[in-house]
């Protein structure tokens, strides 16, 4: 009987080949010529900058849109569609001289009137755009002549330029705004070096070179952004040659990718300042000695070395990342000293076995769970009883953002505060200003310091950079001393690129920039 079935066995083999091989591997090089595929961690959520709240969308938009000012490769503020500006009336009036010869992707000219249409849209309450509170100090704008725009402020705003460069105040063509109305989100029409081609959600977003671009014409013809949420798959796509660039790259893959002769790995200190807010509504953290003890109890250098493979910087000199404008190293704080921690806890009358509830947004930040577990271990070593509560991000941000009833339920809550303005104003105020307790913003420690409040107000109200830096220095020093947070680390942001891609880089805000890239094959 067996022999008779030998032919069936053959059919089996043929069918196997058919069912797999029918699709004959026709892997087309998706990239090639001067087109580039960039694998990102998420798809765009929105294509209207003024309505956008997430980093992946902002990174995609940045190739299509421009604002009055922007950032260069070294994260310096540079003029974009403004050529120059002057301040008058004690910093309450800003007169913008606009660039000539700038065209939107639909052929419309960018001028003062186009800028005004955009500002009016951003500031109109009825539109509910995210520019509203960012530009709360802007009273309005007027057209002086075709290339001159006058902006009136309710009060001087030291962070105005950074806020304008903060990735939301980017211009859409007035004609497109009128044509598409609320659907402008699906029809991005900016002045940037690349123009929109198509968006197939969860699959790809493609842009092509804009031939009418006013600045240096891009070398690339086309960029395709491909969302690949699973980090291992993102890396595999790059290694397989299906993508030309990928970011972010998981820490554990960096060593292997560095050994790949076809790839370049690049990294930069990110703006993310990972920390645990210590809830000062709770009795245990009302005493500054306890908050300091918690900081002494945790070995940040070991966390950097063992959890981040060295790819992070410990936050021992300031609560914020060195890339935030206004950063100052204000000392060297809280070197690992468990004995001192125990001493402080004893002096503060904290009994061994005191229970603390620690909240972690599982999977939101690089190595967040590992860091949480390490911190819990260190705190147990000095006598605390730690209960870890993990939540997915949507639940987490909903719960920590709630109005406390009457006090927030956590003792420690993990967060990393990274702001698109890259400026100390919102970079510090969002988490330390006493008027920014939840639900207003993310002062999750319920911290209130007159020194900090005054310093942040002073920094905001002057347009003198030196004075601003001085004011933020005062605030950072006070915050480090008061320890409303368990200060942890700023992880590096890592990207990897094919070697032939020139002029590409990663930025602290979290993204790979390929718009200036050239291919050298």
């Amino acid at each position: 009987m067996n022999r008779r079935f030998r032919s069936l066995g053959w059919i089996y083999v043929v069918a196997l080949l058919l069912s797999v091989g029918a699709f004959v591997p026709m892997v087309s090089a998706q990239s090639g010529g001067s087109a580039v595929v960039l694998a990102t961690q998420a798809d765009a959520a929105r294509l209207d900058p003024a309505a956008t709240g997430d980093v992946p969308s902002m990174m995609i938009q940045s190739v299509m849109f421009e604002g009055l000012v922007g950032w260069d490769k070294d994260q310096k503020l540079v003029p974009q569609l403004a050529e120059s500006w002057t301040l008058s009336d004690g910093g309450k009036v800003v007169t913008w001289k606009l660039r000539h010869g700038v065209k939107f992707h639909d052929g419309e000219e960018f001028d003062a009137q186009a800028a005004k249409v955009n500002f009016d849209r951003w500031l109109d309450k009825a539109n509910g755009l995210l520019t509203l509170s960012q530009f709360a100090t802007v009273d309005g704008v007027e057209v002086v002549d075709k290339y001159t725009l006058k902006m009136t402020l309710k009060e001087p705003n030291g962070a105005l330029l950074q806020t304008l460069a903060g990735r939301r105040a980017m211009f859409n063509s007035p004609k497109a705004l009128a044509k598409w109305g609320k659907d402008i989100n699906l029809h991005p029409t900016g002045t940037g070096p690349f123009e929109f081609v198509e968006w197939v959600p969860k699959d790809r977003l493609t842009v092509k070179r804009f031939d009418g671009y006013w600045g240096t014409k891009p070398a690339l013809e086309k960029i395709t952004f491909k969302p690949v949420p699973e980090p291992a798959s993102r890396v595999a796509m790059l290694e397989a040659g299906d993508a030309d660039a990928a970011a972010p790259i998981p820490i554990q893959d960096v060593g292997r990718l560095r050994g790949n002769p076809k790839l370049n790995v690049m990294m930069v200190d990110s703006l993310d300042n990972l920390h645990f807010a210590l809830n000062m509504q709770k009795d245990v953290f009302k005493d500054v000695r306890v908050r300091q003890a918690v900081n002494y109890a945790v070995d940040k250098d070991s966390i950097v070395k063992n959890i981040y493979n060295g790819l992070a910087v410990p936050l021992t000199k300031s609560p914020v990342s060195p890339f935030l404008w206004g950063y100052s190293a204000v000392g060297d704080f809280y070197k690992y000293d468990p004995a001192k921690a125990k001493e402080l806890l004893k002096a503060a009358g904290v009994k061994p076995g005191t229970k603390l509830v620690m909240w972690i947004p599982d999977g939101r930040y690089v190595q967040d769970r590992q860091v949480g577990e390490a911190v819990a271990g260190y705190l147990r070593d000095v006598g605390f009883d730690i209960q870890i509560v993990k939540m997915e991000w949507a639940t987490y941000i909903g719960r920590v953002g709630q109005k406390p009833d009457p006090v927030a339920p956590y003792d420690l809550a993990m967060l990393a505060w990274s702001v698109g303005t890259q400026d100390a104003d919102w970079g510090l105020a969002g988490t330390f200003l006493s008027t920014n307790w939840p639900p207003r913003a993310y002062n999750l420690a319920f911290y209130k310091s007159e020194v900090v409040d005054n310093a942040l107000a002073a920094g905001r109200q002057t347009t003198d950079s030196a004075k601003r830096i001085e004011a933020y220095k005062v605030a950072q020093k006070q915050i480090m001393e008061d320890a409303p947070w368990l200060f942890l680390v700023a992880p590096k942001f890592i990207g990897a690129f094919k070697k032939e891609l020139q002029n590409v880089y990663v930025i602290p805000f979290g993204g790979a920039v390929v718009k200036d890239a050239a291919i050298k094959r």
Binding site: N2, S7, L8, K202, G241, I397
Partner: protein, 305 residues
């Protein structure tokens, strides 16, 4: 048969309504504020309030539900809170992608599984039989997440035969379809083998052999048809698992399907997309099961509806 289809379709309405209510309520019970997730960290309370108002989330729950049901009856599924695109524009292309993936993976599993099972049964206790059963066991027990990564590393990174992920052509479907079909393949192979062995021992097969009917004909015509019955039932049931399994497979292969869309929409609390997707997936599952029942009737004339 017509009555069966009519009755089943009528039954579909309360099922869909029940699912809709359950998803609607669940999504609103779990903590998480879509406005905050969409707006990001620097939105102020005024902006959040405006966004909630735009989404209609400031209205009482029963009003929101009533509006939603009435909209659906008009064929209007709303707009995604995240992308602001019409929900059907988000769902339909992705449901099509997943359906294609599910059908291909099921085809792969059934063709290969059936043949492997038949040959294994006919060559019982041979090396081929043992090897097939070990592979089938591996297929059933290997997590698709792991299998997917292994296939990517071997076939995309090392051999460069297939793309590592994304969509764009049949080549993009091979690795995901194999990953997704692996467990069904294992089950089908084992079921077919067991069922064939039972049937091949039946009296009517012995009679056929005694009559001198050729062995190939016995297996292909007499045994297989009877052995297929449990397999059809299993494949239909498995189809639901295939749809569920697509969640992981689509994530690993960045394949733009409905599974990935649902997971992401849940994590963004994008209510209209979650509701619409689950409604459509439920509809498809019920219809596929109905089709399997009809098919079963054809394969087994004893089954009457």
């Amino acid at each position: 048969m017509g009555r069966l289809i009519g009755r089943r379709l009528l039954f579909l309405l309360p099922v869909l309504f029940g699912i809709l209510l359950a998803v609607f309520v669940t999504m609103r019970i779990v903590p998480g504020d879509p406005a905050r997730l969409v707006a990001g960290p620097d939105a102020g309370p005024e902006e959040l309030a405006t966004i909630r108002q735009q989404f209609g989330l400031d209205r009482p729950l029963h009003v929101q539900f009533e509006r939603y049901v009435l909209d659906i009856l008009r064929g209007e599924f709303g707009r995604s809170l995240k992308t602001q695109r019409p929900v059907l524009d988000e769902i339909v292309p992705r449901l099509g992608n997943t359906a294609l993936l599910a059908v291909l993976s099921t085809l792969f599993a059934v063709i290969v599984g059936l043949l492997a099972g038949i040959v294994a049964a006919a060559r019982r206790n041979s090396a081929f039989d043992h090897a097939t059963m070990v592979v089938a066991m591996l297929g059933v027990s290997t997590p698709s997440f792991y299998l997917g990564i292994v296939l990517i590393v071997v076939f995309a990174v090392m051999l460069r035969l297939f793309p590592a992920g994304g969509s764009g052509g049949l080549a993009h479907l091979v690795l995901p379809a194999v990953t997704l079909g692996a467990s069904t393949l294992g089950i089908v192979a084992r079921m077919t083998r067991a069922s064939m062995i039972d049937v091949l021992d039946e009296d009517y097969i012995r009679t056929a052999r005694a009559k001198g009917v050729r062995e190939r004909l016995i297996v292909a015509r007499h045994a297989l048809r009877n052995a297929l019955l449990p397999v059809i039932a299993v494949v239909a049931l498995q189809f639901g698992f295939v749809l569920a399994g697509s969640v992981l497979v689509e994530t690993v292969f960045s394949f733009p399907g409905i599974g990935w869309l649902i997971v992401e929409s849940i994590s963004m609390r994008d209510f209209p997309v979650v509701q619409g997707s689950i409604l459509l997936v439920t509809f498809v599952s019920v219809v596929v099961n109905l089709a399997a029942d009809i098919l079963y009737g054809y394969a087994d004339p004893r089954v009457k509806y």
